[in-house]
């Protein structure tokens, strides 16, 4: 399998961040998340997206990916519990994407900043587990 270009890795992460922004914005509009928590999470996702945009500006030709709302979002917006579970799944997928990206990206200068976002997304998992009353540390 051909190795991905750094720009493609960053585009995939940016698409994931935009999905997270869209689901938190939708949840805030529908009161499906505590307002303080939702505002904090979406503000941090926006900063991640801005950072990725900046990195992409220096990473060669771009191949932007479309970002569409996940089909399960509608059902997830029916209650705060359902949304927190849905968002936790998405944050878990995003952490996995950053783990992969931070290890595989070719530009060594990008590895630590991507790891920094990865750690923040891991913290989002903890925030959502806390909102669900679940144990914070899981295997």
């Amino acid at each position: 399998m051909a190795e991905r270009r750094d720009a493609d890795v960053l585009e995939e992460l940016l698409a994931a961040e935009r999905q997270l922004i869209s689901i938190y914005e939708a949840a805030l509009r529908r009161d499906a998340i505590d307002a303080a928590l939702g505002e904090r999470l979406v503000a941090q996702e926006r900063e991640h997206a801005k950072g990725l945009e900046r990195a992409l500006a220096g990473a060669g030709p771009r191949n932007p990916l479309a970002s569409v709302p996940p089909p399960a979002l509608g059902a997830a917006l029916r209650s705060r519990t359902a949304f927190a579970r849905f968002a936790l799944d998405m944050e878990t997928e995003t952490v996995a994407a950053y783990v992969d990206a931070a290890a595989t990206i070719r530009d060594p200068k990008l590895r630590q900043p991507l790891g920094s976002i990865m750690a923040c997304e891991a913290a989002h998992q903890v925030a959502l587990r806390d909102s669900l009353g679940q144990p914070l540390v899981v295997d």
Partner: protein, 178 residues
């Protein structure tokens, strides 16, 4: 930063500065630049933090104690994984220190607040160490391991923050921004 926070940070710095400095480098034959020395430093840090959580457990109760026990178990697993990686590179993992030697470097923890603040500082150091490792480790599989463990350390740091009544994520970038 309050004086108490500053003291907590200083204590963590003391512990972590002393956790590996006196340990011998991995013995055996990993080639220079293999990443074995860096893994040895991360291992020394993991062992010190695992021991520090033992001290924290003595003053914690309830949910906080349960979470810290889970974290400590994961730190132990990280240490075992790092030992395996060092052996795969042809090295011998550096020996750890005794519980008494580690304990001498820890601050006196008088309360749950003390313990959680101390643990918060330790986890910040661990996250930073693994993210620095990402930039320096030469091999993709080693970077993959560092990223996986670093993500778990991010969970641990956030857990210590939540247990202190703080937001899980203090800012959008845990260390270093894009």
């Amino acid at each position: 930063m309050t004086r108490r926070e500053a003291l907590g940070g200083a204590a963590a710095a003391l512990v972590l500065a002393s956790c590996g400095g006196g340990d011998p480098p991995p013995r055996g034959g990993p080639r220079p630049g293999s990443g074995a020395a860096l893994l040895g430093s991360l291992l020394a840090l993991e062992r010190a933090v695992e021991a520090a959580y033992g001290a924290c457990e003595e003053v914690l109760r309830g949910d906080a104690l349960r979470e810290v026990r889970a974290v400590r178990e994961q730190e132990r697993a990280h240490a075992e994984r790092l030992e395996g990686l060092i052996r795969e590179l042809g090295g011998d993992p550096p020996p750890g220190r005794s519980a008494e030697e580690y304990a001498r470097t820890f601050p006196r923890l008088r309360s749950a607040d003390d313990a959680l603040r101390f643990a918060d500082q330790l986890e910040q150091r661990q996250v930073r160490a693994y993210l620095e490792g990402l930039a320096e480790l030469p091999d993709l599989s080693l970077r993959g391991a560092a990223a996986e463990i670093g993500a778990q350390e991010g969970v641990h740091l956030a857990t210590m923050r939540v247990l202190q009544g703080l937001p899980a994520a203090q800012g959008p970038f845990v260390t270093g921004a894009l």
